[in-house]
Subunit: 95 residues, 2 copies
């Protein structure tokens, strides 16, 4: 592994790891209204394509970064699509 | 340009372009509270390192995607750091 690959892996680690606190923030606040739906769709699709690009070029940082990021985006998407924001009460079902 | 590079450019276009509606959403709502500060810092740093990685590997998709994304993140960061959320009165103008 050369120095540039280390930079790539560090970049991959940071951009991917950044979604851990974002998911925690979304889960804790139970609100994702400030996160654009268009961003979620376009970014998620793009991340999936980056994953394919990583496979095609055998780039380990790109494969790992985008695979994990995609999974974390699914959590954010789940909150974006299923929860009202913010929840008025802790009940699971509100009319 | 081979087929894989086309996939990479499409991925770059989508992930980068996704931040245009996110910036528009943030500007319109004048709120970024659902966007994690830790995400902003880690993701922004990671994007800067991806840019360096792109330069080091002469990867056009990575260079373009991350350069433009970083600029768009600066706009979100400006709102995150400077504006109260949400503003109590309507905005004079949306940029």
């Amino acid at each position: 592994m050369d120095a540039f690959e280390v930079v790539g892996l560090l970049a991959a680690t940071l951009t991917t790891a950044s979604f851990v606190p974002q998911v925690a923030h979304t889960v804790a606040s139970r609100s994702a209204k400030d996160i654009s739906l268009a961003w979620l769709i376009l970014f998620g699709t793009g991340i999936a394509l980056w994953f394919v690009y990583g496979l095609s070029t055998a780039s380990l940082p790109i494969i790992l970064a985008n695979g994990v990021t995609f999974l974390l985006l699914l959590v954010i998407a789940w909150f974006k699509f299923t929860l009202p924001h913010p929840l008025p009460e802790p009940a699971k079902e509100t009319a």
